[in-house]
Amino acid sequence: MDIIEKYTPSGTRDLIYEEAFAEKELENKLYRLYLTLGYKPIETPVLEYYDVFNHEQRYIPDQTIYKFTDNEGKLVALRPDNTSPVVRVALSKLKDEALPLLLCYSQPVFRNNLAFHAKRDQILQCGVELIGGETPETDLRCLFTALQTLNASGSFYKLELGHAGFFDALITDYALSENEIADLRSFISARNSGGYAFTLNMTNPAAVSLARELPRLCGSPDRVLPRARVLAKGRPGAQKILDELETTCSMLTEAGYGTSLILDLGIVQVINYYTGIVFRGYLDGVGEAVLSGGRYDHLLAGFGSDLGACGFGFNISEAAKVNPRQLPPSVPLSFADGVNSLKDAQRVLDRMGKED
């Protein structure tokens, strides 16, 4: 007989003792937090039809989705993300509920990553989705929840804020062709994703200076906003976005989160996924964003709904890693004395139950 493999597939891992505890503790803490903040929990299956993720706003690279066929030959996927399944439920089973829907979840997502990059194929992700609410109020609620989530993880953190519409609002009068806009978009976003763009073959001087200036609009709001105002001059759409961001920042600052905020107006998306505010959260000790979210109205349109939505996902697996936890002390119980042991153990547990 062949020896059974004793190790796990690339990208997966066993969590043993403290690591398992740290993840579960953080998960429980956040779950409680979301319930306290008025979100209702939902769970969806690990397996979904692939089409749930194969919509126009395909925000997950196709090659990273684990897919196979079910017994009817239909393509199914290990869920690579929680937002699409949650939206699916909201627009079907919850379609008659009062709006806005405030939903929270905590369940693993799966990505088929390249080997030898120390990337995890299974990540425990929690988050919230707010579906069908008024824009400024819902966005503010979502941002507050994101800040609370980062805060709960116990490390130094920053929340970065941007707006998916800022770039489009700036280029309205540049007279660029669709191809040129696509080039400019990928050139600017390549600043954030490592050199896929070759060179910018563009003669429009305004576009060239935008490509230079936009990625530099990253820093504390009081530093970035005045410079962004210069770019937005004479463009009411862009000014309106800056007004909104400024209001949001000043409200969050007044509530005591000022030092945790960073504005990044250089966020330009190549895939047309987010439609309004976009944000990402960073924790000291983790080299990538642990929280990522924003307003994503197009996704719901893809499911045939005209409701707006915003939400975020939070990577519990990475966040728990930077905050190791000791296991709590256990109560020593002996089972050597037969039925008396059982009674003793029951008494100990009853006493602990009363103390809680």
Partner: protein
């Protein structure tokens, strides 16, 4: 403190000069011995901790956030990709990606399936995809120029500085693909968590770079 990964070799030399011009004390880097980790203090800015690494590893360290900043050639960035900010063209280490092959031959002639030898399979794949051409790519680790000479490939995609290696081996550049120079890259989380320190560092560097 900022942690910087520096590509060993030619880029390292120029980068250390540049850091010196910015006012960093690079004494430890000028007298390396067998050490791999160096400290560069500065009279007013945060001190730097510098690691020397191979180009590919610079990207790996920066992408995982074990180093905040990396100094690495654009050739490696284009080949490896990854999630980070590419903030500054440092202006040195200039060369280019080019398609080259035996002198006097018309590369695009005929419909025969072409074989390309390269150290940069991803760059090559993207370049030919852009031309709507599919070709066989063979990964070579050493002197790529050997492949067309020995008849393994029709052409090579490689970095070319002066072109003298090509000439001495009877090869020539068919097409330039992309310009290359040393770049300064920043981990996406460090960009937010250490925003002030990163900005100060980038500003100090850019003041010393001629346009």
């Amino acid at each position: 403190m900022l942690k910087i990964a520096l590509t060993k070799g030619r880029i390292e030399q120029k980068a250390v000069e540049l850091l010196g011009l910015c006012g960093y004390d690079t004494a430890e880097l000028n007298d390396k011995g067998r050490k791999l980790l160096f400290t560069c203090p500065h009279p007013t800015l945060d001190e730097l901790q510098i690691v020397l690494a191979k180009a590919n590893d610079v990207i790996t360290y920066v992408e995982h956030g074990t180093c905040d900043i990396g100094i690495v050639g654009r050739d490696t960035i284009m080949e490896m990709g990854g999630d980070f900010y590419e903030l500054l063209d440092l202006g040195f280490g200039k060369c280019r990606f080019a398609l080259a092959g035996p002198k006097g031959r018309d590369f695009h002639e005929g419909h025969r399936h072409k074989v390309i030898a390269t150290k940069y399979p991803n760059v090559t794949k993207r370049y030919f995809a852009g031309l709507d051409m599919d070709c066989e790519i063979v990964k070579i680790d050493g002197s790529v120029e050997l492949a067309p000479i020995l008849g393994l490939s029709d052409a090579i995609v490689d970095i070319v500085e002066t072109g003298s290696t090509l000439r001495e081996n009877g090869l020539e550049v068919y097409t330039d693909i992309a310009p290359i120079s040393a770049r300064c890259i920043v981990n996406s989380a460090s960009m937010k968590l250490k925003n002030d320190a990163v900005r100060d560092f980038i500003e100090a560097l850019s003041k010393q770079i001629p346009n």
